[in-house]
């Protein structure tokens, strides 16, 4: 009998990490890496930073060169979409009609950018998730029009606004929340970012998009509903609009097999398993975090790699369970990490900062643009964020939230750490 393949669906950060880890941890059988984008696996964070800015070309984003991939012996299928999965049989269907009977499957299909009705048909309205998106937006910004409206003031909207300002555009940043990135990092840190954007010349607006004005099929303004029930609208003239209004997990292709729970991502247990032989990793995976005791879905770059590796290890352990050399599966219990670059500010955070019910800022030096914030949930400190502090001290903060401590204890440890800085 020939060995059935392991298939990794989604050829980006999480999928590549999973494929490499499968080889590192000893899978010598056939290994398919299936991705619907035509490009070799590339990195997304620079899309809204160096690539949009024009300082990096697309080749610089490649996570691996072809020469680095060759030794992995992958059955690499780019430009190929998985269109269905029979969970019990572990059979994948691909858009070229092929069916793959697999020993195991790792799902790493990420998320797709949300858009607004009618936006896709308009010239000048963009989203930013893929390399092609970023190149299209970069091309549009280079085309002469100077007025950019960014809809959505989360991390992506803020980063793109910063780059466009640096490129000399007139930038308006519109959010439903008056404070940028408030959902992710709380209002104190958000206010600091708001000040930074204002100081750099970005106009901040609060509002809900009601629609677009057009000239022919090209956008000419964004209409904001004024609220207050009067039905009034404000028009923001625009040559280019970037919709940065969040994302939807790419689970649609899985259909509605009752064996899988696909409400807000693919639900997995603490081992990143969604069903026997079926694992998930990266932005698409909602798994039971054993330390935080609740399901988390993390759309950050570091998690994609770590979870890809964890899913690979656990899938192999499951497959080997009846073999001669059984390995234990291990719960996936990372300390989540993310960073964001805006102008010359670098924000770094450990632990889940979103969903906090308490935030304090032991360091908040607006003029010096230094901040340290602690995030709590149900009496315990779960996350910490810093900007403008030396790397050594930021790394040390990780230990404070690696296991959620009672709030007061974490506060004391933070105070001790900042006193000796």
């Amino acid at each position: 009998m020939t060995t059935r393949p392991i298939a990794v669906v989604g050829a980006s950060a999480a999928g590549l990490a999973a494929a490499e880890a499968l080889r590192r941890f000893g899978w010598t059988g056939p290994l398919a890496l299936i991705g619907d984008e035509p490009h070799l696996p590339y990195d997304r964070p620079p899309l809204s930073k160096q690539l949009l800015h024009g300082t990096w070309d697309p080749e610089r984003l490649l996570l691996r060169t072809q020469e680095q991939l060759d030794p992995l012996g992958l059955d690499l299928r780019l430009g190929t979409r998985a269109t269905g999965l029979d969970v019990a049989a572990r059979t994948l269907t691909l858009d070229d009609g092929e069916r793959l009977d697999c020993a195991g499957v790792i799902i790493a299909t990420g998320v797709a950018a949300r858009t607004l009705p009618g936006a896709d048909a308009l010239t000048g309205v963009h989203t930013l998730r893929t390399l092609d998106d970023a190149l299209a937006l970069r091309g549009r910004l280079a085309g002469g029009g100077r007025r950019l409206v960014v809809v959505g003031n989360g991390v992506l909207g803020c980063e793109a606004a910063a780059v466009a300002r640096e490129l000399g555009h007139e930038v308006t940043l519109v959010g439903q929340d008056p404070v940028p990135m408030a959902a992710a990092v709380g209002t104190a840190v958000g206010e600091l970012l708001a000040e930074e954007h204002r100081a750099r010349g970005v106009t901040l607006r609060t509002g809900v998009v009601d629609g677009f004005d057009t000239e022919g099929t090209t956008v000419s303004a964004v209409r904001l509903a004024d609220g207050g029930g009067g039905g009034g609208v404000t028009r923001l003239a625009a040559d280019t609009v970037l919709l940065a209004i969040g994302s939807t997990p790419a689970v649609g292709w899985l259909g509605d097999d009752p064996a899988l729970d696909t409400t807000d991502g693919l639900r997995c247990d603490a081992y990143c398993a969604a069903a026997p032989g079926i694992y998930a990793a990266g932005d698409v995976a909602r798994w039971e975090h054993p330390v935080h005791g609740r399901p988390l879905r993390i759309e950050h770059r570091m998690n994609a790699t770590e979870q890809g590796m964890a899913a690979a290890r656990n899938l192999l352990a499951e497959l080997a369970a009846d073999g001669a050399d059984p390995q234990e599966r291990r719960p996936f219990a990372p300390v989540p990490y993310f960073w964001s670059d805006q102008y010359d500010l670098k924000i770094q955070a450990y632990g889940p900062t979103a969903g906090a019910d308490r935030v304090e800022t032991p360091v908040l030096d607006r003029a010096g643009r230094r901040v340290l914030a602690l995030y709590g949930r149900e009496g315990r400190a779960v996350g910490v964020l810093a900007a403008g502090l030396p790397p050594r001290r930021i790394r040390a903060l990780r230990a404070v939230v690696a296991t959620p401590l009672p709030w007061e204890e974490a506060r004391e440890r933070i105070d001790a750490a900042t006193a000796t800085g």
Binding site: P45, L63, M302, T305, W339, P391, R398
Partner: protein, 64 residues
């Protein structure tokens, strides 16, 4: 083992330093990676491979 780093791509995540502190450090000014030992001894090799795999910006390249 021979290590090279493409420091321009480093996003200062510091994961490499957490995993292999004898081989990697970060610059004080901006957190960009500093390679302390380009040809580390054998007892460091596993940690270095782990750091290369986990680096979120594909900065670290390891040869044999």
């Amino acid at each position: 083992m021979k290590i090279t780093v493409d420091a321009d791509k480093c996003c200062a995540a510091g994961q490499c330093v957490l995993i292999a502190p004898e081989v990697f450090d970060q610059r004080d000014e901006d957190g960009v990676v500093v390679l302390l030992d380009a040809e580390p001894p054998a007892d460091q090799h596993d940690a270095v491979r782990e750091a290369a795999a986990i680096c979120p910006a594909a900065v670290i390249e390891v040869q044999a």
